[in-house]
């Protein structure tokens, strides 16, 4: 049945309102400080490490993001862990919060469709996360400029920028997941707990669990088959996809993210960097996977929301 009018009427209004809510909320401030402090610590550690061991590295600047120094993990590892936390923090009460404040039916009785409300909330969350990540990214680069004293090259900036985009896509997956939970569960606390539990499972346990599952269930003695199967299984986790994509983008020498046969390496100059777009092509399946995951999760939430009863 066709309905009159645009499904997106009021989208801008909702988005702006939600962004302003996020930006002024105490929750957001706490999350931002957490991320900024932790990430800057990682960058600082990386800089001192890079300065100690610096050699003739053409991509010195990218080492800012990827170098770990005990006991701190690298900047990218931190983001892989903390970006989901931020996204969940922004999304876990998106819809059930409107229910419990009893504002949902009042807002939906205005001349807008539900689509606008849900899209607006997602876009606002994504915009807020993007702003925070861009700020963090600029801070990191600024810190690198000051402390390393070496300006980054154009290709380094290009890679760093693509890294930023991939991080935003990764944040989108977790935001869509948190919003799905906020639609399915009426209580915000339940939604938060379920999403956080899922996050811990998928980032910490799943990558370790998938080889075990494969050895238990794949009846093959061929080691390559087992490795490939375990890797495919692990890639169901967005954290794994993110880590792989980041590796390909920030380590220009990365030629593949899976296992390779020796025969495939014939003629390859090991350790020589790939051009930027070839690196992007290496990471492309992972990037598409992240975007697809957020779309799938969002669509799931969208369908659930459309079918939901409005009344509290």
């Amino acid at each position: 049945m066709r309905r009159e009018g645009s499904a997106l009427r009021g989208l801008g209004v909702v988005t702006l309102k939600e962004i302003s809510d996020h930006m002024t909320s105490a929750r957001m401030r706490v999350l931002e400080w957490l991320v900024v402090l932790v990430a800057l610590a990682a960058v600082y550690a990386a800089i001192t490490q890079v300065r100690d061991v610096t050699a003739e590295d053409p991509f010195l600047f990218l080492r800012l993001f990827t170098t770990a120094r005990d006991p701190l993990p690298s900047f990218t590892a931190f983001l892989g862990f903390l970006v989901p936390l931020m996204a969940i923090g922004l999304g876990f009460d998106a819809v059930n919060g409107e229910h419990s404040r009893r504002t949902l039916s009042r807002i939906l009785s205005q001349p807008i469709y539900r689509d606008a409300l849900l899209f607006g909330k997602f876009l606002a969350g994504l915009a807020t996360l993007s702003v925070s990540l861009i700020v963090l990214w600029l801070l990191t680069i600024g810190l690198g400029l000051i402390m390393l004293g070496v300006p980054p090259g154009a290709e380094e900036m290009g890679r760093a920028f693509i890294f930023l985009l991939v991080t935003i896509a990764y944040a989108g997956v977790w935001l869509a997941l948190a919003m799905l939970a906020s639609i399915v569960f009426r209580s915000a606390a339940t939604a938060a707990l379920v999403t956080l539990g899922f996050w811990l499972f998928i980032t910490l346990i799943w990558p370790a669990l998938s080889p075990a599952i494969v050895t238990a269930f794949v009846p093959s003695n061929d080691e390559a088959t087992l490795v490939i199967a375990a890797q495919s299984l692990a890639r169901l986790s967005p954290s794994v996809l993110y880590a792989e994509a980041v590796t390909a983008i920030l380590h220009p020498a990365t030629r593949t993210l899976g296992p390779v046969y020796i025969s495939q390496l014939q003629g390859a100059v090991m350790g020589s960097p790939l051009p930027l777009w070839s690196s992007v092509m290496v990471a492309w399946p992972q990037i598409v996977g992240l975007i697809a995951a957020s779309i799938l999760l969002f669509v799931g939430g969208y369908v659930a929301f459309q079918r939901q009863e409005v009344r509290a």
């Binding site: 049945m1 066709r2 309905r3 009159e4 009018g5 009427r9 009021g10 209004v13 909702v14 309102k17 809510d21 002024t24 404040r101 009893r102 504002t103 039916s105 009042r106 807002i107 939906l108 009785s109 205005q110 001349p111 807008i112 469709y113 009863e309 409005v310 009344r311 509290a312």
Partner: protein, 335 residues
Amino acid sequence: MDALAMPRAGSAPSAAPAQKVIAVNGLTKRYDTTVAVDGISFDVGAGEIFGLLGPNGAGKTTTILMLLGLSDISAGTARVFGHDPMREPLQVKRLIGYLPDTVGFYDNISAADNLHYTARLIGIAKAERGKKIAAALDRVGLKDVADKKVGAFSRGMRQRLGLAEIVMKEARIAILDEPTNGLDPQASLELLDLIRSFKANGMTVLLSSHLLDRVQSICDRVALFNAGKIALMGTVGELGAQVLGGGFAVEVEADGGDNLPKRLAALPGVRQVTEPAPGRFRMVCDRDLRAEAAAEVVAGKGRLKQLSLDRPSLETIYTRYFQSHDNPREVPHAA
């Protein structure tokens, strides 16, 4: 659609039927196992205050949500100014102002900012927003707290802010779900006055409630819901006649006199006379027979002490109806 705007002056005779602003026909809402609303039909005329009454879970809120296009209609039709809420929900929602049961606002922003958000959703032009919001807040008596955060508002203030939203929207129909629920008597009287003033402005009001005496005071017509169906519909007087079996009950208190019950029963138009207490007589009549009864008591040498006319109260009608239909008040499919 232009003719709709005209509020009817006074109570026009039924010879010129008021324009139907809401027309509901066979409206049905089925869930997996239950039927929440079961083939109800009613019309609401322009400028009317129409009450949906009934126990919790009788289908009042579901009916309202279907009218707003917020809940899918399983069968039947609903029209709001001729628009189908399923197909043209935006049109319908432009015309209706809705005050949900226990309305909520964003607690962390001010009353005026809450209305600003709604105004932008409605699409009120930027230049007019401030003026309309100030006027609406003034109308409901919240001008002084316009810049206070809603978090500090009492229940009654929130309800009034909800009405301010409807005023600001310049809705043609106000749908109010349990507007006086949980309010103290003073606050609910103020709220009812506001609702009455809506009618004076030519707005049509549809309100649902289980607080009967409140509703009785302001409704032109009511529909009595029971288990998803409309059991009774009409003015309070009509319902009284239908359920209580007689329009007027005259109570006479008198001393002495000879054979007063017989004399009273003999009056034309009296159907029944009972004596609930010695010296107190209750007459069920076709019309207001107070004057005749007084004359008869005096003629019978009785000393008249008190004379009163019982208007049928909605409370009585309601209780009597549910008693006589041996329906338990609890309905299985609660909201």
